[in-house]
Symmetry: C2
Subunit: 346 residues, 2 copies
DNA sequence: TGAAAACCTGACATCGTTATCTGATGCTTG
DNA sequence: CAAGCATCAGATAACGATGTCAGGTTTTCA
């Protein structure tokens, strides 16, 4: 006797029922007597029957696959999002596929299209920096599958989103420094195309204005969200005749770079220089001094994203109806650690 | 006219050929005249035809899906491995599925089995700490699909592996400290079940013995590969009557914890305490002082793993033949940064 | 009590590919 | 020139599930 994997036919034969009845049991459909149901279930367990997803996918419209599409090397943020998604999808029988997209490349459309159409994806999760990439989104929309964007820069029709209020968060962070008495506060921006860059910057500006200050271009630098990119920015800022007494970096990795340069110059931290980051990745707690930052509730964001999708997917899909959508803004909070203090007297 | 996705039948009709001929063109099979082939290809491009993977998978034995199975929250290491795998698989038309396994749970077998059998996986990549998990491996072997273990503790028959010589690497690292003149060198171990923990520890012991020293249990601590786990370890080590002048942490995250505790106590680094890590994750360069560590060539490991699998998968599979295997040991090297120096005179 | 409604069950078609087999053509070769 | 052999092409049957529909049984209720 061959030892191949059992199919629904084997189960049907062994249980003395039709394949359709077995199918009904599998999918918890109506119209199966309790007795038959139990008998079939027993046989399924005995044979260790596992339905073939390819066959289910071919016939039905579900593939049980959800893709996480992101850009750039990903970084720690990406990994945590995936963890959150995984734990939620796991119980619902969905599997997570990951796809890194070079959003600058010219094969973006092709890649995403292959992914979506060939694999019959059930849904897509987008994280930075492709959350706001029109090419990617339009391919997904054309395929008419639900998607969630995590921390997008703009809301838009047709998809769901989860995010925190980045502008308000950057505002809070800057206010924290202002309250300490800082008046000359430098800023290191993220890359232009990245979601969040603009919002974080305007939150910073808003806070300054509330104190009657105008942003000074001399102490505003353009970084790239990476450690390395912020090194030269910091060096320039600290070499000014009148250097800032505090620096707001647009993310934690850049804040870590600020710390390194400051250490290298023998500055005492946070006395000579206060530093704040953004995101509260693990790194924030591991550098010295540990960073004051805004916590991205990554776990919660991933949870919310997964929940939205699961809700949409488990709802019976009506043919004509457009994909439902949801937008959720989660609360943020500033985590105060030891990288901030009142400015030293001159 | 309905706007549904074109199938092979539509292509055949439009090209005036049979579906089998179209199939032959798609798979680059023989027995199609150059003229017919070109005509079919033109039509495929026009219709933007994309073969349905579910159908291919159902009929054939390929699913074009490869899973990365790992345990624990993953960490930065995991993300980088995935990046490496992705870039290699992408060009070959394979997609990467990720699955986090709670290797302590009792549903491990069930989870892995579902993954492998329901989705018809083509191959699996295993990273720590499931590289050495017998339950997981035996399920995969029973399904007779190729797999690669990344940095396993032991080699074993039946699968492939890629790794560096962790024992030799830990040895090199310790020798570096000994050469600086350190004689009292503390060690913080990783968790028991984790691959690498034992190897790194024995490399450390070997190095000591080469200098005629015996490992001293008093300055050997048990950590858990996390930042937090190493904090109390370090506090104890630095509170000893005769504290170590250098500490070898079994990975970079724990080394970062050593730095934090040392900073907190006002020690001057690396003068009062030399610290080394292991893995060379991004963090290693972002802390202060940047860590001397052993570089895990993650990119290369992932590349090698992907290459092995692609080789196996593109080779025609003979029914009876067991899965081929390969074992590769990649070169490592010690990255010397500013966290190590000769011990200060007492 | 009779008819309608709800409940079970199964035969068979179907999804979009690839594999098998069979047939038709042209070209070599003894 | 008949036989043999590569080469090309297509009709048809899988793969393993779900959907459709039809038939039989039981329950409901006017």
């Amino acid at each position: 006797m061959a030892d191949r994997k059992p199919t629904i036919i084997d189960v049907a034969r062994a249980a003395g029922a039709s394949i359709k009845t077995v199918s009904r049991v599998m999918n918890n459909e109506r119209y199966v007597s309790a007795e038959t149901r139990e008998r079939v279930q027993r046989v399924m367990a005995e044979l260790q029957f596992q339905p073939n997803k390819s066959a289910q996918s071919l016939k039905g419209d579900k593939s049980y696959l959800i893709a996480h599409v992101y850009g750039d090397p990903g970084g720690p943020y990406t990994g945590q999002i995936q963890m959150g998604l995984l734990t939620r999808f796991r119980d619902q029988g969905y599997h997570l596929l990951i796809e890194e997209i070079d959003y600058r490349g010219d094969d973006v459309e092709d890649r995403v299209s292959k992914l979506v159409n060939q694999l019959n994806l059930d849904a897509v999760v987008l994280t930075a920096p492709v959350t706001d990439n029109d090419t990617v989104i339009s391919v997904i929309e054309r395929a008419n599958i639900p998607y969630v964007r995590v921390t997008p820069q703009h809301e838009r029709d047709g998809g769901s989103s989860v995010r925190i209020d980045e502008r308000a968060a950057a505002n809070d962070l800057t206010m924290h420094l202002l309250a300490f008495g800082h008046r000359r506060i430098g800023f290191i921006k993220g890359p232009e195309h990245h979601a969040g860059t603009r919002l974080r910057y305007s939150g910073y500006c808003d806070a300054l204005r509330e104190y009657g200050l105008e942003p000074d271009p001399e102490i505003i630098e353009q970084g790239g969200f990476t450690y390395r990119s912020a090194l030269p920015c910091t060096r320039r800022l600290l070499s000014l005749a009148e250097p800032p007494t505090a620096i707001v970096a647009s993310n934690d990795e850049m804040a870590a770079a600020v710390l390194s340069v400051a250490h290298d110059r023998g500055l005492s931290l946070p006395g000579d220089l206060s530093v704040v980051g953004f995101d509260d990745i693990e790194l924030a707690e591991m550098v010295w001094p540990p960073l004051t930052t805004v916590k991205q509730p990554i776990q919660e964001l991933a949870d919310a994203a997964a929940e939205i999708l699961v809700n949409i997917l488990t709802r019976k899909k009506q043919p004509g109806e457009p994909a439902p959508q949801a937008h959720r803004v989660l609360p943020h909070h500033v985590v105060i650690r030891r990288s901030t203090a009142p400015p030293a007297r001159r």
